[in-house]
Amino acid sequence: MKVAAAVLLLLLSLAALSASWIAPDGGQMQFRDHINEPPSSQFPLGTDPLGRDRFARLLSGARISLLLAPAAALLAVLLGAVIGIAAGLRSGWLAHLLSAACDLTLALPWFFLLLTLRALIPIDVAPPVSLLVTFALLGLLGWAGPARVVQAGVHLTLRAPHILALRARGAAPLRVLTRHLLPELAPLLAGQFLALAPVFLLAEANLGLLGLGVSEPMASWGNLLKELESVAVAGPAALLHSWWLLAPLAGLLLSTGSLFILAPREVTP
C-alpha cells in the first residue's frame, strides 16, 4: 500500500517536473479552431473553452499544486507547531497572548484582509512572483488552526503518565520537547498538513477571484477544478458525457490520498 502510494506520488511529481518538456508553453497556447473538444490523439484530455490543451494544463498545473500547496501547508503547520507548542508548554502571559492571537487570527475577516493585501502588491508583478506571494500568504496566515490543535495536543501529551515518568527520570524540558513531544505530535502535525494542503489548493482557485495567485492564462489544479463548478450546475449527466473534465479532481484525490497513506500514524497502544 505504502509502496504503491509512494510510486504514485513519484510518478505524479515526475509528470509535473517533465511538464515543461512535454508542454513547453505551460498549456497556454490557444488552438482557437479546437475549442471545447473531447479527447483526441492530439489532445489526450481534450481542450478547454479557449482551445488550450487540457493535458498540458493538467501537467503544468501539477507543478503549482503539488509543489506550492504542500509547501504553503508545510509553512502553516510549522508556524502553527512552533506557536502551538510555545503556548502549550508555557503557562501564564505568553500562553494567554498566543491563544488570544490565535483567536484573533481565526476570527479575522480574511477576505477583506486579502483584498487590502492585494491592493499593496503592484498589479503587474510577474505571475511567478504573485504565485509565491500568494502561497507564502496562505502559509503565513494559515497557522492559527494548526496552532490551536497543537496546543491542545501539547496539553494532552504533557499530562500523559509517560511524560511525567520521563521527567521524574530527570529529563530536561528540551529533551522532553524534541525527543518525545515532537515525535508524538508528528501524526497530529501530519494530519494537519494533510487537511491543509488540499484546502490551500482550492483556496488558490478562489484567490484568483481577488486577482491573487494563479491568474487565468496560467494553469493550476485550483483553476482547473473551478471549471468543474459550471459542469456540476449542468447536472451529473453532463459529467458522464465529459468524464475527462474530472482529470484534475482525480489528480487531487490521488495525490492527497497517497500523501494520506504515507503519513505517519499514531502507534496503537
Partner: protein, 255 residues
C-alpha cells in the same frame, strides 16, 4: 537520627483549595523501607511528586519544610533538582504501561534513562542497564531489549520502570502504589523485589500504598489521614495495637 534522608513537615494545596496535605510530618532514614499508607485521594501521590519537584507550579503551592539529604527541596533551583531526579531520588509510577513511551523499545528507555545523567559516558549505557534489568529480574537477551511497551505485560512494564529507577543507584526509591495493578502472586513478588533491592543496593524505599497489608514488609509505616500523619511505627505495632480509629479501620479492611 540527625542524618535522616528525608525530613518533612509539608503543607500542599491546589489552586487555593483547602490543603491536601497539612503539616505532613515524617522522617525517612537511609536504607529504610518506609511505608506510607492512606486512602485513595488522600494525597499520597502529591507527597511523592513534591519529593520529585514535579507538582504543577501553576496550581500547587507548597509550604513548611521538605528536605532530602542536605537539600531544601522547597527552594532547590530547577537545574539542581533535575540532577537529583532520576539519580538520587527515583520514581516508579502508578500505572506501568501508560508510564512508558509507546514509541520506544526497552533498550531505548534504558539508554535514555542512562544518558540523562551520564551524557559523557554515552556508550556505557549497556552494561549498567543489563545489570539493572537483571536486578529487576527481567530478561537481558536482545529480543527482549527490542520490545515495545505494547508487547510487555503489566508486571514486566513495572519491572522495567524499576530497572530504570535503580540504574543510577538512588538513595531513595519512591514506589507509588506498586501493588495495585497486580494480582496477588505478583504483588508479593514485587514486594520481595523491593526488599532485596534495599538490601543489595543500600537504597531507601518509600512504599506508597492504600493497603496496610502490603506495607507489612516495611520497617516503619506512617498512616496518612486527612492530610496528616495520624500514627506511625513498625507494622506489627500498627496491626496489633492500632491507636487511631482510622488505622483500626485499615487493619480490618482487605481489598
Amino acid at each position: 537520627m540527625e542524618s535522616a534522608l528525608v525530613r518533612s513537615c509539608l503543607t500542599v494545596n491546589y489552586s487555593g483549595k483547602p490543603p491536601v496535605l497539612r503539616d505532613l510530618t515524617l522522617e525517612i532514614q537511609p536504607n529504610e523501607l518506609f511505608g506510607l499508607v492512606g486512602e485513595s485521594g488522600g494525597g499520597k501521590s502529591t507527597f511523592a511528586l513534591a519529593l520529585l519537584g514535579l507538582l504543577p507550579p501553576a496550581i500547587a503551592s507548597l509550604s513548611g519544610t521538605l528536605t532530602f539529604q542536605h537539600h531544601d527541596l522547597l527552594t532547590l533551583p530547577d537545574r539542581a533538582f533535575r540532577r537529583l531526579r532520576g539519580r538520587a531520588i527515583t520514581y516508579v509510577p502508578q500505572s506501568p504501561i501508560a508510564s512508558l513511551s509507546p514509541r520506544l523499545s526497552v533498550a531505548a528507555h534504558l539508554r535514555e534513562a542512562w544518558l540523562i545523567h551520564e551524557p559523557s559516558n554515552s556508550s556505557d549505557w549497556r552494561q549498567p542497564s543489563l545489570a539493572a534489568l537483571h536486578s529487576a529480574q527481567l530478561p537481558t537477551e536482545p529480543a527482549f531489549l527490542d520490545l515495545r511497551p505494547a508487547a510487555l505485560s503489566v508486571g514486566m512494564a513495572q519491572r522495567l520502570l524499576i530497572a530504570m529507577a535503580i540504574l543510577h543507584k538512588p538513595a531513595l526509591l519512591i514506589a507509588d502504589e506498586p501493588t495495585s495493578a497486580l494480582d496477588l502472586i505478583h504483588q508479593s513478588a514485587v514486594l520481595d523485589l523491593f526488599r532485596s533491592l534495599r538490601d543489595t543496593l543500600g537504597t531507601a524505599v518509600l512504599l506508597i500504598t492504600h493497603d496496610l497489608h502490603a506495607a507489612a514488609i516495611c520497617h516503619r509505616v506512617a498512616v496518612l489521614y486527612e492530610g496528616s500523619i495520624v500514627e506511625q511505627g513498625p507494622p506489627a505495632q500498627l496491626f496489633h495495637h492500632p491507636a487511631h480509629p482510622y488505622t483500626r479501620a485499615l487493619t480490618s479492611a482487605r481489598r
